[in-house]
Amino acid sequence: MKESLVVENLKSYYFTSVGAVKAVDNVTFALGEEESVGIAGESACGKSTLGLSMMRMLQPPGKIVGGKIALHGTDTLTMSDSEFNKKVRWKRIAMVFQGAMNALDPVYSIKDQLKEVLKYHGFPEVEMNERIIESVRQVGLDPSVIERHPHELSGGMKQRIVIAMALILKPEFVIADEPTTALDVIVQAQIINLLKKLKKEGMTIMLITHDLAIISEIAEKIGIMYAGEIVEFGSAEQIYDDPKHPYTQALIGAIPRLKGDKKFSHVKGSPPNLAKPPKGCRFYDRCPHAMDVCKQDPQMIRMKEGFVRCWLYDEKSQQ
């Protein structure tokens, strides 16, 4: 199977005064063509850092320490900064940041802000207007909004503008970090439909969120992140219908349902300190199935379409 995205042994650490915080610690996964992925996990599991690492936009003291990120076969981590900036960032892979709609500059019109993105990436001036209108239409807005300022737009409209900003150079890959948080539920549904439409138009989406329900609307593959590691990766069917890792099971159990069984559960305790991650399985002290062997780092056990990092499973039983 040809892979559109391969991430291998990615490590991104924040070098702080208390030591190196291992926010992304040896993350590996791969996507096939036309497969979108959801990265799910709680706060501070490293998912936003993963997204920023793929964009090479980690701010100091954050730094990519090692690994490989290959887009359609091209290892982007071996490129120089200027080459990545010229050829990859925003042109092949773009990002909708968490809370981006609040980062729109209040004193500039939408048109000027979209223009700024094009200017920065050397887009020909004469074609700018046309491209701006095209992007705005693509996200379902009337082109007249480009003359407005951010405060004149609703939350949903601002979010669409920020998505248009990410799409404007027609990248093949878009990372969306919590794109529906802070939006009203009906507007959320509209944004989700927009993401579905973009998928139909050929875009690959990496959706980063703590909301496992929303991920089911977009992702073919899902990675569950815990304390800087991907503890389970698989197809959507695998993850929802037959979750293997105890943390995945707990996360799915923690989703409140509108229909069916009313009860939902919680996970006791809290994630470990990533400046001093514990030896062995990082979920050990919260896991209902913890065993002695879990004090050693669990192996990556391959499964049908992914893997799980857990001593409850072994290679043979998964074949």
Binding site: S43, V185, P256, F264, V267, S270
Partner: protein
Amino acid sequence: MQDSNVFVDVRSLRKWFGIRRTFAEAISSQEEKVVKAVDDVSFKIPKASVFVLAGESGSGKTTVARLILRAIEPDSGNIFFDGTDITKLDHNELKKFRINAQMVHQDPYASIDPRMRIMEIVMEPLTVYKIGTNKEQQEAVFKALEEVRLEPVTDIAYRYPHMLSGGQRQRVAIARSLVLKPKFIVADEPVSMLDISVRAEILELMQNLQKKHNITFLYITHDLSTARYIGDQIAIMYRGKIAEMGPIDKVLLNPLHPYTQALIDAISEPDPNNRLKEKMVRIKTETGIERVSTGCNFYNRCPYAMEVCKTEPKLMEAEDSHYVSCFLYPK
């Protein structure tokens, strides 16, 4: 429902906010635009039950909560609290009411003072109302921390907020709301800023405390799924009015108002088949703040809008204790 069983009785509550006009508008003597934040809202909360007030932002639900707590003054209407009309009370008479009506806010990072220790934060209501000796106040704090299972209490009490997680901070806020032994608590989106894995814990805690102490609860949220877990009754608000109201399972499993139906369609359940279809969004998008000034306030967005909807619908009983404000339903 017997009236003696009603703890909070809100009648025709109204709060309109005037929008500042530009100079040009003022001199052209255009009518002052108003935002009808709360427009003729009535509901009853039975004693020791959990009443959910649900709606999106701009629906007026937080304004209703503020009016009930008399943090802001209503333009008209009555609020009966345990039999007494609190809208008629003056500042001094309100003291007894305020002790009995407490609030838990949405943001556990903003609602507790980062420069105070947990002990001082939870003790503050007792200090403000001068209740108990210093020793009694300390004991009350330890007891409250025990109730919210923040243990060991002697350790937690002397920490600062930044030493606690979001979920722990919210427990501190809950402890603080309990310390005056109130009969009524308003919880405004208490779990929306917490991680998914922690929400059930906090909700379960609130539910246990509510049952244990017979507290009447007003729970405000836009998240219908968590509302279902904790609520007994629910009222769905849209732009200042109640669109639908009734026992929570009835309203959520058999939504009558087109707006309620749209809210429920919008919710995602974790189902891998979701990605194969589009989400149903039956209602039209809002184009701006212009709206029909008479008639149903949902008219512009309603997929079933009829001619009669240009007149004002009333909240009426469609089936046993399930009320809806919509011309689709004859009495």
